[in-house]
């Protein structure tokens, strides 16, 4: 008997349909506002999913991912500005160096739980200070201004969509593969995992580098989108928290939950801020509290509960009817 495929055919088909639909969307009469909104969302989706590889799959919650975002952004921007390399090349370079930074943070990986998180805060804040000081690289407090290219910004939609799709696919595959299982083992009990031959450091390094590289890539694409980067904003604590919020709201540890969280995040930022700006902090806070206390898997968990309830009711009716006769 053939083993079931890693990912059910139906899911692959659904995924392909969604991607094609989104790719075609701008060609229909859609406003430039929606176009830009979706572009920004794709960038955030990719970032949140990549963060989740570290924070959700391995269970090492990082409050310092902005460091890699910023490095990716500034490397890409600096290369584009000084060497006039085409953007995709710059992005790649940004991703590689951000991944390298994550590799350099290797010593942090032997810390567990809150210690790791606190250390990432330290690294994130130290990076912010150092990079704001490093004028030659980031432009210092003035930031880095990049030339605007309207047509390319329009095309960013498809680049960002491609990235988001790739990262989403990778998340699902990762979650279900044996690699994902090993990560789950490390997350549950690193020592026990080591006993069965799963080297915590090797796998964590790998995921950290991948996560960092992808987040760096999102930073690089953001640089092309905003045409202006400023270190205290790019490397700021608020940005690091953004990754955490998106993943938690969507469902930390699930395969695609953070993508949902990113979408909700964008919706909240766009519509809530317009109507109730004075409550936006409180709303995030209450959301976090409710999620942590009642549904640790965030919106995904909520959705699963609803789905389970719906399924349970259907067969129950079939069973009770014969009995009632």
């Amino acid at each position: 008997m053939k083993a079931p495929p890693l990912i059910p055919r139906a899911t692959v088909r659904a995924f392909a349909v969604v991607c094609v639909a989104l790719a075609v969307l701008p060609l229909l009469d859609v406003s430039i506002y929606t176009h830009n909104l979706l572009t920004r969302s794709y960038i955030l989706i990719a970032g949140a999913l990549a963060w989740n590889w570290m924070g959700g799959f391995v269970g090492q919650v990082s409050f310092g991912h902005a460091a890699m975002f910023g490095i990716g952004g500034f490397v890409a921007g600096r290369l584009a500005l000084e060497l006039q390399l085409p953007w995709p090349v710059c992005w790649l370079a940004g991703a590689l160096i951000a991944g390298g930074f994550a590799l350099g943070a290797h010593p942090l990986l032997r810390l567990r739980g809150p210690y790791f998180s606190i250390a990432t805060i330290g690294v994130g804040e130290a990076s912010r200070v150092v990079f704001t000081y490093w004028e030659r690289f980031t432009g210092g407090a003035s930031g880095m201004s990049l030339p605007i290219d309207g047509t390319f910004k329009y095309q960013l939609y498809w680049w960002a969509l491609g990235l988001a799709a790739a990262v989403a696919a990778a998340s699902v595959v990762l979650r279900r593969s044996s690699f994902g299982l090993k990560l789950l083992a490390i997350k549950s009990d690193a020592d026990a995992a080591a006993d069965v031959g799963i080297s915590a450091t090797l796998y964590q390094d790998l995921i950290f580098v991948l996560s960092g590289a992808v987040v760096g890539l999102t930073g690089a694409i953001s640089a092309s989108y905003y045409s202006f980067l400023e270190p205290s904003d790019t490397f700021g604590f608020e940005r690091s928290i953004g990754f955490v919020l998106m993943a938690v709201i969507g469902g930390v540890g699930t395969a695609l939950g953070p993508a949902l969280g990113a979408v909700v995040f964008v919706l909240v930022q766009t519509y809530l801020l317009a109507s109730y700006p004075q409550f936006h902090l409180g709303i995030y806070g209450v959301l976090l509290i409710l999620i942590i206390l009642f549904e640790p898997l965030g919106l995904t968990g909520l959705g699963r509960r609803v789905a389970r309830l719906a399924r349970r009711r259907a067969p129950a009716e079939q069973v009770s009817r014969p009995a009632a006769r």
């Binding site: 810390l111 809150p114 604590f237 806070g285 976090l288 509290i289």
Partner: protein
């Protein structure tokens, strides 16, 4: 660079005095965080928010009722204690303790911080505030350098709190119960200690200390609803450096961090000295995760 030319004995003395005063500040900020983590193994990410809340309560009492900030300390302590008890009973209690609750407790308390910040914006608006009394600008001449009165008071109170905490933990029954729970919560139930009550109490004391730190900071600096992050981060550095639960460890650690930051100006550009604390934090975590004083339980 030529800073080494500028070193003179008097200058080093000035720096040393600054370092000691700054250490008093850092220690005062860090006690609450350290106590809560030492006993509950929960990192109170709302610590900065409670400090900010304490600052506002003290400021409100000064601004609206004319009560001197130092006199309002008892009130702030009580209110912050109540806040901590509410936070624990309502929220933190429902989390698993220790490593299992790690990220969850971080995020939960971060959520509480966001809510506190929003409430502050709504009630007090985003304007910067500071408490200015008749003696705010007075300074004393000590050992050749001038020392701000308000900073001296913070130093004094910081030490007093350390001694008070130490006595509480060592000499009182409650204190012994707290230490026992920190050591081994399960065994405590066996000997009849109501662990949940101790946790509630400890959390409350932790937030009370944070609130007091807030009032004291308000007499020196200006603050706004957005404050709290740098206080939180500095407290982290001190608590991690000082090791879990050692009260005097916090004092020594505060001294080390403050000295490093102040004397770093001799070799680093002033702007980069703000990164010194964070680098220390990372170094200590990586090299000695148990802090400089080891993973000792409250002593």
């Amino acid at each position: 660079m030529r800073p080494l030319d500028l070193i003179s004995f008097a200058r080093l003395g000035d720096l040393a005095v600054s370092a000691v005063l700054l250490a008093g500040l850092y220690a005062t900020m860090a006690y609450g965080l350290g106590l809560i983590y030492g006993v509950l193994r929960v990192v109170n990410l709302a610590h900065g928010g409670v400090i900010m809340a304490g600052a506002y309560i003290g400021w409100a009492m000064f601004d609206r009722l004319g009560i001197d900030p130092y006199l309002s300390i008892p009130v702030v302590m009580v209110v912050s204690f109540a806040l901590g008890v509410a936070m624990y009973q309502g929220l933190v209690r429902r989390l698993p303790r220790g490593a299992a609750g790690g990220p969850a407790s971080l995020l939960l308390l971060f959520g509480v911080w966001l809510v506190l910040r929003n409430i502050a914006y709504l009630v007090f608006t985003g304007n910067d505030r500071t408490i200015r009394t008749a003696y705010s600008s007075r300074s004393l001449a000590i050992l050749g350098s001038h020392v701000s009165l308000t900073r001296l008071v913070v130093l004094g109170l910081g030490l007093a709190i350390a001694i008070g905490l130490h006595l509480l933990l060592r000499r009182t029954l409650i204190g012994r119960a707290i230490r026992a729970v920190a050591q081994n919560a399960d065994s405590c139930t066996l000997v009849g200690i109501d662990v949940e009550r101790i946790y509630t109490l400890t959390f409350g004391i932790g937030t009370a200390l944070a609130g007091v730190a807030g009032v004291l900071l308000a007499t020196i600096f200006s603050f706004s609803p957005a404050s709290g992050s740098s206080e939180l981060l500095r407290s982290f550095v001190v608590v991690v450096l000082g090791g879990l639960g050692s009260v005097f460890g916090v004092v020594i650690a505060a001294l080390i961090v403050a000295t490093a930051e102040v004397f770093a100006v001799l070799i680093l550009p002033s702007y980069l000295t703000s990164a010194v604390g964070f680098l220390l934090l990372v170094l200590v975590l990586v090299l000695r995760p148990g802090g400089l004083f080891g993973q000792r339980v409250l002593a």
